[in-house]
């Protein structure tokens, strides 16, 4: 067993053993309280630049499903084409796995993809530290810790992760000859595959464009802005494009980063949460109703409710901390959610968001 050490920026050290690729990494250390869904989370592009600690201690139990690509070019079981998280941090990794759909262990997968993993550390102590101090940068060192040979932990906020994970060219899904389908432009800030699946399931054509692509001249019926990693303030190009779209009346929907970019386009500001929401159990309430939803979330930034312009209002509010969970335009068909209605992983209660969007087209 190879030793592995997690060193946080504040100097705290957690020692465990390595179970993934033997490679040192640095990044923002975040915790996720979901109890299932490590294949989905690891391939979620929103985790780019982050070392993901799972609070649920037993990880790896059901192995990893095959990395298949469906006919339409979308992965069968994963959320993107590769692991995006920079590392995974767990308490009790299980090399033994058992599931009819598993083809390899989590450790083997991490090794294949060159991503390190550490097990055997007190993830609860780590989580409490992050909760009290806020997320911080950290390094994962495999093997003996040697001064001077460690990867440099950069500044998470300064890096445009969206640019790293977005598609580089326009891709089209669900186009079929002779059928007149509604056309949805999907701004890819690091889109999860299940957003595309959810749209396709509702019989629309999806035109996936790079994050900074100016789609305003395209022929489309609705605009969808995806999730994505990092600081929304690094995505000004996307905000400018969306702002143009706001002049029109075509329906716009956003998820996660999409919520933040839409809010910014509408004039609101964004701030960084102390330790973010990364879990399957975030309660949100639809403003002005008695409707509540358990949602899957993964975000470190939030829209400042107080800065929403006169044309906008909160659509959902987090029932735990009162933060913004979605916005809507008071008159036009523009709305967005900070949580993940596409789930994958997590609860599926809010998939109706896609129905609402498609109904507006």
């Amino acid at each position: 067993m190879t030793k592995a050490t997690l060193i946080l920026d504040d100097g705290s050290i957690f020692e465990g053993t390595s179970f993934g690729a033997e490679k040192d990494v640095a990044g923002e250390v975040v915790f996720n309280t979901a109890m299932t869904g490590y294949p989905e989370s690891l391939t979620d592009p929103s985790y780019a630049g982050q070392l993901m600690a799972l609070t649920y201690p037993l990880v790896g139990n059901y192995g990893v499903p095959p990395f298949s690509i469906e006919k339409n070019g979308i992965p069968g079981f994963m959320e993107s084409a590769k692991i995006h998280a920079d590392a995974i941090i767990v308490s009790d990794y299980s090399e033994d796995f058992s599931h009819w759909n598993a083809v390899e262990s989590l450790g083997d997968w991490l090794k294949r993809e060159g991503v390190p993993g550490i097990t055997g550390i007190d993830t609860r102590a780590l989580t409490k530290k992050l909760r009290e101090h806020g997320v911080m940068m950290g390094k994962l060192i495999i093997g003996e810790v040697e001064e001077g040979k460690q990867p440099a932990a950069g500044n998470y906020e300064e890096i445009n992760y969206v640019d790293r994970v977005s598609c580089k060219e326009v891709l089209t899904y669900g186009e079929s000859q002779g059928e007149a389908k509604k056309r949805v432009v999907l701004v890819d800030c690091g889109v999860k595959a299940n957003i595309i699946r959810c749209l396709l399931k509702r019989n629309v054509t999806v035109i996936r464009v790079p994050w900074n692509y100016d789609f305003n001249g395209m022929d489309y019926d609705g605009l969808f802005i995806s999730n994505g990693p990092g600081d929304p303030d690094t995505c000004d190009a996307a905000v400018q494009n969306i702002r143009k779209a706001l002049q029109g009346d075509k329906p716009i929907c956003g998820i996660c980063m999409g919520n933040q970019l839409l809010a910014k386009a509408g004039g609101a500001t964004i701030y960084k949460l102390k330790y973010g929401h990364r879990s399957h159990n975030q309660p949100v309430r639809m403003v002005g109703t008695e409707k509540c939803f358990v949602t899957s979330q993964n975000h470190g930034y939030a829209v400042d409710n107080d800065t929403l312009g006169d044309d906008w209002e909160p659509l959902f509010i987090n029932m735990n901390d009162g933060t913004n969970e979605g916005i809507r335009h008071k008159t036009k068909p523009f709305f967005s959610a900070q949580f993940h209605p596409e789930a994958c992983s997590g609860p599926t209660d809010t998939e109706f968001i896609f129905d609402r969007f498609v109904a507006l087209l």
Partner: protein, 1074 residues
């Protein structure tokens, strides 16, 4: 927000029985708390007097009456509540509520059902309605057919194809259900099922599929959450109450998990639950195919477990939702800041393991199946699966130390034992691994998921590694730590390393402890906080683990806390009564300004509710773990006398470690527990006791028996099979018992005691302060000695004791209290014959009857005892039992109907699973209430009698005369018939099963439902053989016909219902008895 309601009636579940146990005290208590804080007047009907929910200050008005439509209607008529809660008293309350709804009683008195509407309950309870309802939303159920006769059952089974499962509709916990592989087995099961219900369900069996449960909550605004999911270690085919259960699920992927979650929510929305329910699934291990097994539209054993597993108070929330709140109105009761509308995130794993007591029953079938036999359960918490399951296996308290390093099991056929699971299957798996079986082989035989098996195999590998070491010092640090993270106890490590050389286990544990501490290998304390540390918790719900480096709580070391040791798993002989005692101790400690700390691991209890104390350690009650906690907690002292025998047994060892044991000293406890020492003390102070001797050869036994004469009571120290003790009436019985049940040797001696027949048994429950009795209660058994005190029917105050007897008992008790310098609760059992008094047993702790006498007398014995143990001054209460104008009866609840093949006969070993306590203006009224509360019915017209020995026949003569005078038709077997004839009482003779050619046959009459009550008194108290009497008794149980097997109890019951009719029973609340 809530509905406008001022008075609410809540139905309890009655006596603890298999399938319906302490979990409903927990859920009912929480519901009452939730309703009371709204300022609503609460009325509770529950005859279970030992519960916390029937204690002062919990409900406003309490009725110790049967939870049956008849009595509930009477209470409604009197109390006129506006609302009724049906979901908190198990199947008993639910069935009663449905009956009241259907008969129009609820409508007549304008009582609203709060929470889930009755129609929704009926939709889930009636199998056909249920399937139809789920078909409407395309949710798959197990294909089954409801039939109303045997022919249809056979046809249905042929069409579905064997194996099939048979279930009785509307029956709790799988009563009257089972698997059948062919028509022969089907015939037997179907008949039995029809005796419980007019409708029987034949279903296709899905043996081998995974079994997964979700606990779901919905408010009236249609907001839904799933609080917890749980996966059974044992695949489908074993009742979930008999399964080892893990939460959260371990082998489900995100897709699996959320597919079932989404279905669960869709189902409860469609059914219209308001409150809580659980959905049970069968899940294909090879695809995403599923079937819904059932939906329980009420709080259940699983919901109690889920509450404890997650920290989410399901019953409390369900009660609030019943009052009309939305989930968004309520706060998470752990963080106090976040919303109750959320789904807990666990950062640990819990493991529930059932506790069986099948060894207590003669002839019982040990195979596990689709109906429940376990009497209790434990929940273990860890940060690895191995840690949780090894802790759990120790917690069940059957002498096991974990998955490995146990006493060698003798398994003649491992394949069979794996394939046909019994109560010891988990240990068979251990044995199989040690015998060279592979994970694949065991999987093929058990269908247990390979993930679980591989984890268990990992424990075996660690054991092997430890066993290759010869000294503790040699164990590498990594291995030592790894073993502790896998839940190895110090004892297991000692045994693995020292092997055959280990003589003194207790000493070895201390050696390992020392070595471990020297190396700095220590457990850490973690908090259960519902959100996996995302938000800070305001409560102290704790467990210990070796997977961690940091404690979640601070230790101030101010010695201002008092630790109360709990009572562990419910089992025969230790149940909700000790939970009551523990809770009273905690309440008193808090009230007196100390911090209260509880250690216990039973998910069915109120004492493990995190708001009952300042710190709850949901962990083991082993010496190792208790010392771990005490060393961290550094309390003022420890209370060992309110949790039954488990804490009592730790007293001496803790004392040796200089733990401050509050109240009676450990040395005194030892002097009472140690037979030799206690006996010597009695001799010294001139107190009589039945003669006894510890003997190790047959010759010595025979010569002792020659001295004292038969019958004798024989207690082996090492039991092979069957009951642990027995009464032997003659040489043949003695020899047979010793051969069958025990190995007599120097190493395993037996204790033989003189057995005094036809003696009264009297209990003294008391509290003393520095050797002086402060308060006492003397109660009297209805049955003569020979029936275990836990099974006996007890009257308090004593009704038929001589004044002189009482005087002597008081005097002897005083002497003993002084001699042992008792400070705290104690109990002494006496035999009284004439005015001769003998001491049978003395326990320097609270006894089973403490809640009963406390509530009848309305003086809280435990509060008094706790104050004494805290060193506070107490005044002798001015009231005593001789001032009471009413009588209390404590009666036992048996669960023989669950225990296939067991002989339903009472003896010196305890067999009851629960009890009730009822109060009446006179003895007959109290007897009648209590007998009806434990499920007996007043017979309509036909009674079958076989009344045993001549002495017993005489004892019952007056009662039988009353039956005859009352116009009952008496049917009697040969001897009894002749005896009645001689005494001028008319009866119809019926024949034993052995009298084959004669008519009418007793058994046939039972099967034809022609008998309303059976009194069958066994001739002697020896081991029940497969004889005539057994067949009659067993048939009565299987056909759900009231059965009494004791002459004195039968007489009391008959006298009660012959002098009083059910309408004469007064509907008086506990508060009205003054």
């Amino acid at each position: 927000m809530r509905e406008d309601i001022k008075k609410v009636l809540i139905l309890g579940s009655g006596a603890l029985k298999i399938g319906e146990a302490g979990e409903f005290d927990y859920s009912g208590s929480q519901a009452l708390k939730a309703i009371k804080e709204e300022g609503i007047h609460t009325v509770l009907i529950n005859p279970n007097i030992a519960t916390v929910q029937t204690s002062e200050g919990v409900a406003d008005t309490v009725y110790f009456l049967p939870v049956t439509p008849f009595f509930v209607e009477k209470v409604i008529e009197k109390e006129r509540p506006e609302g009724i809660l049906l979901a908190f008293g198990g199947q008993t309350a639910l069935n009663c509520g449905v009956a009241l709804y259907q008969s129009g009683v609820l409508e007549k008195y304008n009582v609203r059902v709060l929470g889930t509407p009755v129609q929704a309950i009926m939709d889930t309870e009636d199998r056909e309605l249920f399937v139809r309802k789920l078909d409407e939303i395309d949710v798959k159920t197990i294909k089954s057919e409801a039939v109303e006769n045997l022919a249809d059952a056979r046809r249905a089974a042929r069409e579905l194809g064997y194996p099939v499962i048979i279930r009785a509709a509307y029956a709790l916990g799988g009563l009257g259900s089972g698997f059948c592989d062919n028509e022969e087995e089907l015939d037997v099961l179907v008949e039995k099922a029809f005796s419980f219900s007019p409708q029987v369900l034949v279903e296709k069996s899905l043996k081998g599929w995974k079994e997964v449960e979700y606990e779901v909550v919905r408010d009236r605004f249609d907001n839904c959450i799933t609080v917890c999911n749980m996966e059974n270690f044992d695949p489908l085919g074993i009742h979930t109450g008999e399964s080892i259960v893990i939460a959260p699920s371990q082998t489900l992927s995100n897709t699996d998990y959320h597919k079932l979650r989404e279905l669960a929510i869709r189902i409860i929305r469609h059914i219209g639950i308001v409150g809580e329910c659980n959905v049970q699934y069968a899940y294909d291990p090879e695809s995403e195919d599923y079937r819904v097994i059932e939906v329980n539209a009420r709080l259940s054993r699983s919901s109690a477990l889920a509450s404890k597993a997650t920290g989410y108070p399901l019953a409390f929330v369900a009660a609030k939702l019943g009052l009309g709140y939305g989930l968004f109105d309520l706060k998470n009761s752990v963080t106090k800041t976040t919303s109750a509308f959320f789904e807990p995130a666990l950062d640990y794993v819990v493991c529930k393991i059932p506790r069986w007591d099948l060894g207590k029953f003669h002839g019982v079938a040990r195979e596990l199946g689709s109906s429940m036999k376990s009497v209790g359960e434990v929940m273990a918490i860890g940060r690895t699966f191995e840690e949780a399951i090894q802790k759990g296996l120790r917690m069940i308290g059957q002498g096991m130390h974990g998955f490995v390093e146990n006493k060698e099991l003798v398994i003649p056929d491992i394949d069979k034992a794996l394939h046909e699971p019994t109560d010891s299957r988990i240990f068979v798996i251990s044995k199989a691994f040690r015998s060279g079986y592979t994970v694949d082989q065991i999987h093929d035989l058990t269908k247990i998921d390979k993930w679980f098996l591989r984890k268990l195999y990992g424990i075996i590998q660690t054991a092997n590694a430890l066993e290759s070491q010869d000294t503790l010092r040699e164990i590498p640090d990594d291995l030592f730590r790894h073993a502790k993270r896998q839940g190895f106890s110090d004892y297991q490590i000692a045994r693995a390393v020292f092997k055959e050389d280990m003589e003194d286990g207790e000493k070895a544990i201390l050696q390992v402890r020392q070595e471990r501490k020297y190396r700095g290998i220590l457990p850490v304390v973690k908090q259960i906080d519902t959100l996996a540390a995302e938000y800070p918790a305001q409560t102290n719900y704790l467990y210990l683990t070796y997977s961690g480096t940091e404690n979640d709580v601070d230790y101030v070391g101010d010695h201002r806390s008092i630790v109360v040791l709990g009572s562990g798993a419910y089992r025969i002989g230790s149940s909700v009564e000790f939970d009551w005692c523990g809770v009273q101790a905690l309440n008193t400690i808090r009230k007196e300004g100390w911090r209260s700390v509880m250690i216990n691991y039973n998910p069915e209890t109120v004492s493990t509710d995190y708001d009952m104390c300042d710190r709850l350690y949901f962990d083991e009650l082993t010496f190792e773990r208790v010392m771990d906690i005490l060393e961290l907690e550094n309390p003022h002292g420890v209370i060992v006398s309110t949790g039954g025998q488990i804490p009592n047994n730790l007293a001496m060892r803790m004392d040796e470690q200089h733990v401050n044991i509050l109240g009676t000293s450990a040395k005194s406890i030892d002097n009472a527990e140690d037979r030799e020492k206690f006996s010597a003390m009695l001799d010294r102070i001139g107190v009589d006791q039945p003669r006894w001797k510890e003997l190790s050869t047959m010759e010595d036994i025979n010569s002792f028996v020659d001295e004292v004469g038969f019958p004798v009571l024989v207690r082996p120290s090492y039991v092979l099979s069957g009951a642990a003790m027995n009464v032997c009436s003659n040489q043949e019985e003695l020899e047979r018992f010793l051969q069958l049940a025990a190995n007599v040797s120097k190493k395993h001696p037996v204790v033989v005691s003189q057995f005094i027949e036809h003696a009264k048994e009297v209990e003294m429950d008391a509290v003393a302060d520095k050797g002086e009795i402060v308060m006492y209660a003397i109660s009297e058994h209805i049955e003569f000695a020979g029936v275990h005190s836990g099974d006996a029917t007890i009257q308090f105050p004593a009704q038929k004791l001589y004044v002189e007897t009482v005087r002597r008992i008081k005097r002897i008790s005083k002497q003993i209290a002084k001699e042992l310098n008792i400070s705290g609760p104690f109990n002494i059992q006496y035999l009284a014959k004439g005015n001769e008094i003998k001491v049978i047993e003395c326990n320097l702790r609270a006894s089973r009857s403490f809640p009963f006498v406390s509530k009848v007398l309305k003086i809280n014995f435990i509060e008094l005892a706790t104050r004494i143990m805290l060193g506070l001054p107490v005044e002798k209460p001015s009231k005593n039992e001789f001032d009471l104008d009413y009588v209390g009866i404590k009666a036992s609840q048996f669960s023989f109907n669950r225990l296939q093949k067991a002989d339903p006969v009472l003896g010196v070993d305890m067999a009851s699973t629960g009890e009730v306590g009822c109060i009446g203006d006179d003895l007959s009224e109290a007897v009648l209430k209590s007998m009806l509360s434990v499920g007996l019915r007043i017979p309509e017209k036909n009674v079958l009698l076989s009344t045993g020995t001549p002495k017993q026949k005489v004892a019952m003569l007056d009662a039988v005369r009353m039956l005859a005078a009352k116009g009952y038709n008496i049917f009697a077997t040969g001897g009894t018939h002749r005896f009645l004839e001689e005494n001028g009482i008319a009866s119809t003779q019926v024949y034993w099963p052995s009298e084959k050619d004669k008519e009418p046959q007793a058994l046939a009459m039972l099967h034809a439902k022609k008998i309303d009550m059976v009194v069958n008194i066994p001739r002697d108290l020896s081991a029940g053989e497969l004889n005539n009497g057994y067949k009659i008794r067993r048939a009565a149980i299987d056909l759900n016909i009231p059965l009494i097997t004791n002459a004195r109890l039968a007489s009391a019951f008959i006298e009660a219902f012959c002098t009083l009719s059910i309408d004469d029973i007064q509907i008086k609340s506990w508060q009205e008895y003054k």
